[in-house]
């Protein structure tokens, strides 16, 4: 084989010996193979060993291997180092691999930082290529935190001793809440799951984090069902599901994140954070606490995405009020017309069905806290929403049972002629 001049230049630049070059020239090695070898720092001993292989086993199919895998269009020389919490995603976001582009260019599963091999590129169906539609600046940490903070419902909760027999009304109220929140977990999992295949590889951290949320949502559905079926109660009334229509009806990922990871999670977290008031047993106290920690991560993604969207999407100021308006409407609609959740909360807050007004008062406090928390969380990322919030969410802080809001309109008094 005569080594072409450009390849010879590479070979010379590598400082290969004349003996090695002569041996290559006399071998069955091809120029492309030699060029690829010359792209490496392989020792002459290694290359001589490869030439031995060519002579030793000329019929072996790998004699013809182009060795193209020894070269790459991507950056080499990465030496990521683990930090105090191990090797986290942020530790490998180094060099060119740490650059998350505003627009991702590849339509298939080419990983971020890699480039397609010529002739081996099949465009796929991904649709999210604009960073502003999916990104948040805390995704890498949230993903790792989700894995670090994993818990196991079957063994991390004390099913043996953490429960105690409850009066029937309290047991049914606990089970009623579990029924609704478990159902919500299943649907949360369904809705987020269907968006994974839209997210292109450029933003894999978002997909990975949503993978953890899918896992968390499943665990929420599972642990709450276990609680409902383990202490003398049973499942209760399923939710109407108006909010599910909102979740499914969200037509962009940002709208999904606003409805689930901002609006719903903010309300959910405020509820779970009242574990001390909700829990009737030590097991529940721990369960609500675990669930709150999970919800906090989901909310953190939602809020940070909201901020990213505001800062990077040209039409954010026009679109966001519409997203919030649409989604608060279905969410508030569910709160108004699906009474089982609020009534179960009333019974739990009242400690039973004897003094329900006390429970209603506490529910009013919760609704107030939920709305205040919601505004505060939106404020924390610079989204001023108070003036536009759905009136029903405000109304529920004054009329927590929606008795007046849902009261049939009365006919006006006939005017005296």
């Amino acid at each position: 084989m005569e080594i072409p001049a450009p390849v010879m230049a590479k070979v010379r630049a590598r400082g290969w010996s004349d003996e090695l070059i002569a041996r290559i020239t006399e071998s069955v090695a091809r120029p492309d193979q030699v060029a690829n070898l010359a792209s490496t720092t392989l020792t002459e001993e290694k290359i001589n060993g490869w030439l031995d292989f060519l002579e030793r086993d000329p019929e072996n199919p790998f004699v013809a291997a182009p060795l193209s895998i020894l070269t790459t269009k991507s950056e080499l020389g990465m030496w990521a180092k683990p930090g105090p919490e191990g090797l986290r995603l942020k530790d490998i976001n180094i060099g060119s691999y740490g650059v998350v582009p505003d627009d991702w260019r590849y339509e298939n599963d080419t990983p971020r930082g890699a480039h397609p091999t010529t002739g081996m590129y099949i465009p796929a169906s991904y649709s999210i290529f604009d960073k502003s539609e999916v990104w948040a600046d805390n995704l890498d940490d949230l993903y790792e935190d989700a894995i670090r903070d994993r818990w196991i419902s079957s063994t991390d909760l004390d099913w043996e001793n953490g429960l105690k027999e409850l009066p029937e009304d309290l047991e049914r109220a606990v089970c009623q809440l579990c029924t609704i929140y478990s159902n919500n977990g299943l649907v949360e999992q369904k809705v987020i799951g269907k968006w994974l295949e839209e997210i292109s590889y450029g933003f894999y951290e978002a997909k990975s984090f949503l993978g953890t949320q899918i896992y968390d949502a499943g665990r929420k559905a599972e642990v709450l069902r276990k609680r409902a079926l383990s202490n003398g109660g049973g499942l209760g009334q399923a939710p109407l599901g108006l909010h599910y229509k909102g979740w499914y009806g969200a037509l962009k990922l940002t709208e999904v994140l606003i409805t689930i990871d901002v609006i719903y999670k903010s309300y959910e977290l405020s509820t779970f954070q009242m574990a001390g008031d909700l829990a009737q047993t030590p097991l529940e106290e721990e369960m609500w606490s675990y669930l709150a920690r999970d919800s906090q991560r989901h909310l953190d993604y939602g809020l940070h995405h909201l901020r990213w969207y505001m800062d990077h999407h040209d039409l954010a100021h026009e679109i966001l009020p519409i997203f919030f308006g649409r989604q608060e409407a279905t969410f508030a609609g569910e709160m108004l017309t699906s009474p089982a959740e609020r009534e179960a909360l009333v019974v739990l807050f009242a400690g039973g069905t004897e003094n329900l007004q006390a429970g209603v008062d506490k529910l009013q406090q919760l609704r107030g806290k939920q709305l205040a928390d919601y505004f505060e969380r939106l404020d924390s990322v610079g989204y001023d929403h108070a003036a536009r919030v759905n009136p029903a969410l405000v109304g529920l802080t004054e009329d927590p049972l929606a008795a007046r809001m849902l009261a049939p309109a009365t006919d006006p008094e006939p005017e005296d002629n």
Binding site: L37, T40, T41, L42, K46, I47, G49, W50, F53, R56, N60, L67, S68, I69, L70, T72, K73, G77, W79, A80, K81, L87, I92, Y97, D109, P111, G113, H115, T117, M120, I122, A124, S125, E144, I147, R148, S154, T155, W159, L186, G193, K194, K207, G211, I214, Y215, G218, K226, L229, S230, N231, G234, L235, G236, A238, S338, E343, A402, A403, R404
Partner: protein
């Protein structure tokens, strides 16, 4: 019946006609899904969905709720007898790529070995990326009456995210970088049916990947890589088991779908043998990488070739065995090139 005089409060939910008095005793593995399904809230004698809305099994549906059109209707469409067991196992065996891999055990390698490992890991990050998308797509299609299958797929999505991340991490810890991307696994996105997914993704593709991971000892250059493959293989085993038991359920309960299942495998086998088309673990880039890794360098690619052949053979033997166990004997219709790998075993 409980009633109240507080305006706006009617407590109807306290009077819904669902089974009450449920208790469950935790066992050695804590309180598992199987234990709470020993009651009427289980799935015995339930072959078709009772409610087409998003109401979870056993709760009282709100009669105003609308049906959810994307859900399947029959148990056979989505069910796997091992879903509950595998879900619990998945929750018990989650691991963290950040801390459970001894990254400090990775030591500098010669360029051929490092680039071969980076090539393999680049390919695997492609495959795992899509292996999460596909089950993600089907979560919404599992009826709430058979939600355990959905829960399991949720754990698979999590596992695939972790696989994608652990292989990506390996690429960046030892002086290497991404290799150029090959065909990856884009074809899997064409899957359109739950059972097709279990045949193509689980039974076939994940089966091949699992066999590869289980042979990780042969291609690993250090303890970190061995552990990475071992833990990943453990996860893949669950995915595979889910798919195998679903396909088995279909073959046993809906035998008229057997030919359909064979057909999925016919296509998949054919694609795999067409090395210039998208294929799993058998494309030319990864073949070359595996030969270098298994042999121990470019100078030992003949040894590597023998070991790659062993791997391929093992992959096919295990695949053929799994297919046979679920009632899909492939001995007469396996693609000739793959059948050849079986040798005497065929």
């Amino acid at each position: 019946m409980v009633t109240t005089n507080v305006p706006g409060l009617n407590l109807d939910w306290l009077n819904v006609d669902t089974e009450q008095g449920q208790t469950a005793e935790p066992g050695r593995s804590g309180l598992t899904l199987q234990q709470i399904n020993s009651t009427m809230y289980g799935i015995d004698n339930l072959d078709e969905v009772r409610n087409r809305s998003l109401t979870v099994r056993g709760s009282a549906p709100d009669l105003r709720s609308s049906p959810h059109a994307r859900q399947y209707h029959y148990k056979g469409d989505v069910w796997s007898d091992s879903a509950m067991l595998l879900y619990e196992e998945a929750t018990q065996r989650q691991w963290a790529s950040a801390t459970d891999i001894p990254w400090e055990k990775v030591e500098p390698l010669s360029d051929d070995l490092e680039m071969a490992m980076c090539t393999l890991c680049t390919f695997l990050t492609q495959v795992e990326f899509i292996a999460g998308d596909v089950p993600g797509r089907f979560l919404e299609q599992v009826p709430t009456d058979f939600f355990e299958s959905q829960l399991f797929l949720g754990t698979q999505v999590m596992d695939e995210a972790r696989h994608q991340d652990v292989f990506r991490k390996r690429i960046f810890v030892n002086g290497g970088g991404m290799s150029d991307a090959g065909f990856g696994a884009v074809n899997l996105l064409s899957i359109d049916d739950f059972t097709e997914m279990t045949a193509v993704l689980h039974l076939f593709a994940e089966g091949l990947v699992q066999s590869l991971f289980r042979m990780g000892e042969l291609i690993s250059q250090n303890d970190a890589e061995k552990r990475m493959f071992r833990l990943s293989a453990q996860d893949e085993s669950r995915h595979l088991a889910f798919g195998v038991t679903h396909v088995k359920y279909v073959v046993e309960n809906e035998p008229w779908r057997t030919e359909e299942l064979h057909h999925y495998l016919d296509i998949q086998e054919r694609q795999t043998t067409q090395s210039q088309q998208a294929s799993l673990t058998t494309n030319p880039l990864t073949g070359e990488a595996l030969a270098i890794l298994a042999g121990g360098g470019i100078e030992k690619m003949d040894d590597g070739f023998k070991m790659v052949l062993q791997m391929r053979r093992k992959q096919m033997i295990e695949y053929a065995h799994r297919a046979k166990v679920v009632g899909l004997d492939r001995s007469e219709r396996m693609a000739p090139e793959l059948r050849e790998l079986l040798g005497d075993v065929a």
